[in-house]
Symmetry: none
Subunit: 184 residues, 2 copies
DNA sequence: CTTTCGTTTACAATATAACGTACGAATTGT
DNA sequence: ACAATTCGTACGTTATATTGTAAACGAAAG
């Protein structure tokens, strides 16, 4: 495998060019010297993690994006085109947008829960985790013998290998995205 | 936010203790000196990425596991607690909720785009795909020399290995969830 | 062709990462 | 109880990261 500082070199150069910035501008945004940015991009130096951190923050990219970089085939899926899965007399509705794939090992749903609506979920296999972002309404999740309340704009991540439940205790329909990641 | 070298300090100490290894043993496995391992764990030094790479390989853990905050089983993350990444003079705002992990190979963002707002994204590496669900407002994506329009409740999946852009051509702020899956 | 400008690279100085050895404290074995 | 061993930290030295300034380079304009 290619040495880590050469990976960072390529990623930083590509990112800077794509944002149309000079070395000097990156130095200004990040607080790292222009000379140093140049050396990193040419693979002439192995920077410290603090330096990488400053650059990532200055360019407003995630830290790890300088270490890894990712490619498309495009599909628009209409809500009307997916088979809704409902529970609790239709008060809980899940739209499976991206189903399980052996490589990716996750599924993605859009979920709506009317006020008072609820779902009790079965325990998934060991290593399974769920990631939920609430866009509207509120969500209460019972897991690990605890209640977690998630407000609009916030998110929650938890291990889904135990019985767990979702509720809407508010007064508006909850809209959320749910990723179920199955372990390896 | 805590400094990156202090995050690495905690992660390394926790990992070494959990594997019941001495400083000397880690030095032997990784090729980094015992003194240096000690300094890193005490937060007395900001190691280079090459050093972190050697340690990760020596301990057979992913590189990013030493750099990310340790992940508790259940986490509610408030929008206010994540560092917003913005573009287009703040008209495009991304909230990184779940960042890259060597095992799961995906990141999850919540994104808001004001009317008229736009982002031109870099091309990612081969095998990278994006999954987007629009909850509110509308989204137009340019990729593969085509326009794709996504309405509220609908979603889109595409290969992200080319230059691509996101727009809001509507009259309300667009709210969406975005998953970036990096290939293996 | 010359000048100007923006950008990148070279160079020297300084700061700090990284190493090897020594030391003190704690643990283990006799 | 004492010696040997293990462990983590201190210290001095070397290697390299990082900075600031100067020089080189390429493109555009006159």
């Amino acid at each position: 495998m290619e040495e880590i500082h050469l990976i960072v070199a390529k990623n930083l150069k590509t990112l800077r060019k794509s944002k149309k910035l000079s070395l000097e501008k990156v130095a200004e945004l990040s607080g790292v010297s222009k000379t140093m940015i140049g050396q990193i991009e040419r693979g002439e130096s192995s920077p410290t993690i603090t330096t990488i951190w400053k650059i990532a923050n200055g360019l407003k990219v995630s830290f790890t994006s300088l270490l890894n970089y990712p490619q498309p085939e495009t599909t628009v899926i209409s809500k009307a085109d997916v088979q809704m899965l409902d529970e609790d007399n239709g008060k809980y509705r899940a739209y499976p947008y991206f189903l399980f794939d052996e490589d990716k090992r996750f599924e993605v749903y859009s979920v709506e829960i009317d006020p008072g609506g609820k779902l009790e979920s079965t325990a998934h296999k060991d290593g399974t985790e769920e990631f939920i972002i609430v866009f509207e309404g509120e969500l209460t999740i019972d897991t690990n013998n605890q209640h977690y309340k998630v407000k609009p704009g916030d998110c929650i991540k938890f291990k889904a290998d135990d019985l767990h439940s979702y509720y809407n205790t508010g007064k508006k329909t909850t809209h959320l995205s749910m990723i179920i990641y199955y372990g390896t």
